[in-house]
Symmetry: D2
Subunit: 181 residues, 4 copies
């Protein structure tokens, strides 16, 4: 099972990254750190003559991750009650990717990709993070991806997440379940 974690935090060793690391512990996986990539915002050209135009940035890294993974873990801090802006720009560009003539198999291929969301926030995330989960659900439904599970953790200062016993327990169990596959 090929696993890729996409990291949406702007911090080193962020809480959301630490929690995702518990999920993938001792499992072979690839990590993509969005803050180290250059990804342009979407320019919506669906209804323009010529359609989407080639964008010269690092987005092919994302496309290849979707093409080559069986499981993608979306790890994001909860900034202002939803995913980080860099995670959102990455998601937005999927509108282009599913229409990109360079990757005609993309839309079909990703139907077999499983998705897990790991999100950590500081302001009542287990309540106020729920709309984020609902949005990811709508997104994965649109893409026909299976949204197999999510973990919402609470943390503010670096390392806080390890004090959230429920989130740690969920991540540890998910790690065990992934190993048994």
């Amino acid at each position: 099972m090929k696993i890729t974690t996409i990291i949406g935090s702007s911090r080193e060793d962020s809480n959301s990254e630490i929690l995702a690391d518990l999920v993938t512990k001792d499992l072979t996986h690839t990590t993509i750190d969005l803050k180290n990539l250059s990804i342009q915002p979407i320019h919506d050209l669906r209804h323009t003559d010529g359609g989407f135009q080639f964008v010269d940035d690092d987005y092919d890294t994302i496309i290849n991750a979707f093409l080559e993974s069986d499981l993608i873990i979306f790890s994001t801090p909860i900034y202002w009650y939803t995913m980080s802006g860099i995670m959102k720009n990455m998601i937005d560009r999927l509108s282009h990717a599913i229409r990109d003539e360079r990757f005609p198999q993309f839309k079909e291929k990703i139907k077999s990709v499983e998705a897990i969301v790991v999100a950590v926030g500081g302001d009542e995330p287990k309540i106020k993070g729920l709309p984020l989960i609902q949005q990811f659900k709508y997104t994965f439904d649109f893409l026909n991806m299976r949204f197999s599970s999510y973990i919402i953790g609470e943390g503010n200062k670096p390392g806080d997440i390890l004090q959230d016993q429920q989130a740690v327990a969920q991540a540890t169990l998910l790690n065990k379940q992934l190993k048994e596959l």
Copy 2:
């Protein structure tokens, strides 16, 4: 009453902009078009020695809009069931703005700013756009801003929004109500 509309679409004459224009019709207002500004993603340095660092981009335009407006209309297309990435990056940077020593009055001042959200999407937006509204609510609550109303419209192709009679009626009435203030 000083009104600013912040436009989050990547398209010219987007449906969300058209709908926001109905709200501000014949009212003096300023428009900020995010796609024409350079705004960096947040770098979360809240827990780092020295805190947030000066970012040399166009964000002061946003800060000044918050400082000078009585009402801000957040006009965004619904991309993947939430606000556009460029709108999200703008929101994310509020974490810095409320701590920016150059604008010590910012956090207090914006408590008197009223917020309206105008969002247009193509995939059942009046249902699937509700988590977005909930997130804006949490955001405005955090900032102690009054979230006075929102309009969700349906549209996909350019101009579609004018076929959404309910959204047009809501915008027209809101425009009338703003004129009476």
Copy 3:
């Protein structure tokens, strides 16, 4: 077009009923007032030998409304952020109705019924009533009914709803649209 309004309030002339009346103004329609019916709570016997048992109460009134209507308007006050208990008990019994051998055509027939929700609450209903709308959506999706629109109004004291200009405008337009069908 055969229209039935199901009233979930415990009050006479409730705000949610007044708002629903605006939607059906000058349109032939039937009204079912749940507070005047005796409807037992569901007894979940799906997994028991023999399955659901005949319940001797007024629920056939509801079943016939679903069988005979083209459009059902669910009018409910928002009590504690969701529908009233009497409306909920009515909804719960659908689990029995779709398996009731006396009405083998029920499950298929209701796929052609359109649903509208009219809900009125007193505590920020346009935000805090959104989970209720999401639940109705899931319910109508399960039943393959088309959820064509909803109106959330604000009101507390009797008659308050008429002060909610946005809700009144939405109801008036919806009434006009229904007349044009």
Copy 4:
């Protein structure tokens, strides 16, 4: 710590009851089974001369549970994406209870009651049950009760819940945490 579990299922040995039992395992607690009580729907008389009238049913059992408990566990099946009708009628009557002259201390006392929600559903409950959690949150916020945690489990047939390893792990950990208090 005085713990009361309020059971909202209509089934014996329901999945939601089994999951709640894991939370209270080996802890002294009281169980209230709503299906064995007679609780009338609310009759909203807030705006009527004389206000709420005495209702001769078993609701005092609920009032006393709130008055005497430090922690209340609301255990409900997810019927049609929200709590069961009998649970809802119980909640609705809180509108009367907080105004009941026989219990003048009620509204103040319950501010110190902690709430936990345990909900089990059969149709993607970890997504489609989220609006239910949001409603409980609004309810507990209104009452100034602390909503300390919730568990959503998946199950349909009797006993299914024990196959939901994540829910079982969460309940087991919560049980351990409650014992350490």
